[in-house]
Symmetry: C3
Subunit: 327 residues, 3 copies
């Protein structure tokens, strides 16, 4: 049985094969490949785009999806072994996960970072508990450390626009009114490293990504031939790039400049002009217009955020098929 | 591509043809006319009856429905162009709607009046934003100005009981503990005007319907031969009528008598006796018994509110089929 | 038309036949026995396990389930006849239930005890209102008095482990941080009485089950040959038993010892050693580990709580099929 909760759950060959499958099926959709199959989606954090894209993938092909919202008032799950369960968590994953996996063919889990520490995010306790207790494949719908379906959907989007082996991509930190989790930028960095891209990550000082993720990306790059650079200068990081990938995330250090002093990091039409004339603009959505990214980019022809969102559907269809075929 | 968010989206001939289709399929249900089709239902306001009737229409015929609840804590949509999105609305319709319409075959939207003004309701900004941004048909599940599926379900119910060309129908204002939106009475007036009925609208002074809706109804009546009268006297408005359609709505003027002084507008068995002996009683539901309408009417044989609710299913099935056939 | 909201809705022969059907289909699943059928699930109280098991039963066999959450803010149902509906309950069951049953083929209802009194629980007003107003079969997803699907799933679990006619079963009261409803222990007692088992119910003084339920169980036992004993001593009640069924429920008397003085009632590995060496441990879940039941039992081989939860699916599939076949 196979799971997909972190990029390293797949070999580089499997990643390529899943991307290939996703592109083929985007052109020629398959038939009822999920006939009578049930995806149980367990949401520790709410979602609409993710739910819609996963549910549509099942429904389009004869399958079904059931959404279970954890912690919406009544149902919190304990994950600690040996816990004396006299608090507000009435059920342990040791019961909940085996029961869910008896009734479903594949289990999706969304469990965000609690924002405590990189170490805590690295542990990714909730999704690892699901993996160890489930009798059917587990697929991540975003966890504390990574959002691997987003990462692969992003690679699919880049592949659709650039034939060359090593496009130049820039992950550009963006301002936001909140301190957001790092799962999406982590998955972009890891996926692009596995693909062998020429990567620049630009962010203000004190907004570093997790060390363990950077190390994993560097290991991937040694095999793939990828190149990874970090920069504190948005303009130079975007110079001649082919992909601007904007994303907000929270500080890694208490000494980081506060969010409201970093408004100049909002990407703007003028940044597009620094980039390659054929460059594309990406963002995982939802995007706060004129806070993270200016209207002039989002309404431009180079903006591919809708295609990118649609590609979530295509990559997830290929991934679910892969997991069900190996279970 | 066609949408159905306001009655005027259909020609009079199309309205008749959809009513005919709904009646035929009510007797002889069609087969899998929605095979593998997905209806995405976007609820800015919660719903149960509407969700059940739309979802059942899809499921009965091989299709599927996915409910997305906007603004339930986490997901509010910005609709203003050029907004600096630093408030509690993390996503713009310019991204949300194209993404939803990439994954669905038809999009349902429910977005109530904010109760600000008739002008604001007339603008119906949310549902118009969906229409302009969606790549698939949009169907209203009630918006600020109209509830057009309810309006046509009401016409279907009247047609089932009266063979004559011009039944006499009375829209009777009803008391309520809250100031309710006018979408339902607007749609009843517009639909009945398009059908050529003999219409009386009875309400207390200061509870006028929107001027723009009345004008549209008068225009429709010129073509259909409908007759529209307004009255401040419930008894005389009900005299000899064939259809009593009770509905609560809020005041249009600050000088309107307060709701708690208008309890005599509650329809009661004695009103049935003023009407035609074969008259029917209608209400869109939910109804507050013994506040809007007395038990003696709701428990009478002339009460057709359950049939009327069931007809939502039948008319929506015909409408969704119409929209999918024209997309 | 048949309903299943209380155990007495089925004859002893029907109970046996449904258990037989459930066991057969657990081995050899049936085909599309629910093709195009819709189960409407009305939740006055939230649920995940129940929703998942009911929804999976429909989806696995060509059917569908629609979940309607009552009272989650916007939709409370009035059940009193003649009520003047000017409070926070905007809809009466007299409208809601007929409408739901026009659009669905079977209606599931979950409506917990309000914890007022045994008499109030016995009345079970909400679910009886649904039965009297629905035009399609009603199935309980747990009500104030009983949780009959759980009761039959429990019998299925016991049958799978014990070939003998009259296994010795012990319903063991368990501590909890809250005062829980009695529907589950009621249904265990009633079902085991109908099956003819040798039953011991152990609980602290002041935690009696409802008198009307005990009487019904005693009546059932006269026909089935069951034996029912009550005990205030957990150890002696478990001695040589074949089934330990732990369950927390609230006090029946204001003189009952407070919950926090009863921690010695938590079942523990040492209790397993008092029981028959081949005994099994059961619990309806969710279970608070190390409060109701110690880890040493839940992680033991004798613990069958996951099988028991899965059996909810199997028994509900057989029950829904029975009800649809008789409608």
């Amino acid at each position: 049985m196979r799971h997909f909760t972190h990029l390293k759950d797949l070999t580089p060959e499997e990643i390529q094969s899943i991307l290939r499958q996703a592109r083929i099926w985007k052109t020629v959709p398959p038939d009822h490949i999920f006939l009578n199959k049930i995806l149980a989606m367990v949401f520790f954090n709410p979602s609409l785009r993710t739910r819609l894209s996963f549910e549509a993938a099942m429904l389009r092909h004869g399958g079904h999806a059931i959404a279970l919202e954890v912690g919406s008032g009544s149902w919190n799950l304990e994950i600690e072994s040996g816990a004396i369960m006299n608090s507000n968590k009435p059920e342990h994953v040791r019961e909940a996960v085996p029961v869910i996996s008896r009734l479903a063919d594949i289990v999706g889990v969304r469990s965000f970072s609690l924002g405590l520490s990189h170490e805590e995010d690295d542990r990714d306790s909730v999704i690892h508990a699901f993996k160890s207790l489930s009798s059917v494949p587990v697929i991540s719908m975003e966890s504390a450390r990574e959002h691997p379906c987003q990462g692969l959907a992003d690679m699919l989007t880049i592949q659709e626009h650039f034939e060359e082996l090593r496009p130049k991509v820039t992950l550009a930190w963006a301002p936001h009114i909140k301190s957001l989790p790092k799962a999406v930028p982590h998955s972009f960095l890891l996926s692009a490293s596995a693909m062998g891209y020429d990567i620049t990550v630009a962010h203000p000082p004190g907004y570093e990504l997790a060390t363990s993720v950077i190390k994993e990306a560097q290991n991937l790059s040694q095999r793939s031939g990828s190149r990874i650079r970090f920069s504190h200068n948005l303009d130079s990081a975007i110079q001649d790039t082919q992909v601007i990938y904007a994303k907000a995330w929270g500080p890694s250090s208490p000494l980081a400049a506060p969010l409201d002093t970093l408004t100049s990091w909002m990407t703007h039409e003028r940044h597009l002009k620094l980039a390659d004339p054929k460059s594309i603009f990406m963002h995982c959505l939802p995007v706060r217009r004129n806070v993270e990214v200016h209207d002039s980019i989002l309404d431009s022809r180079q903006c591919k955020v809708i295609d990118e969102a649609e590609n979530r559907f295509h990559i997830q269809r290929a991934l679910i098929h892969f997991l069900l075929s190996h279970s």
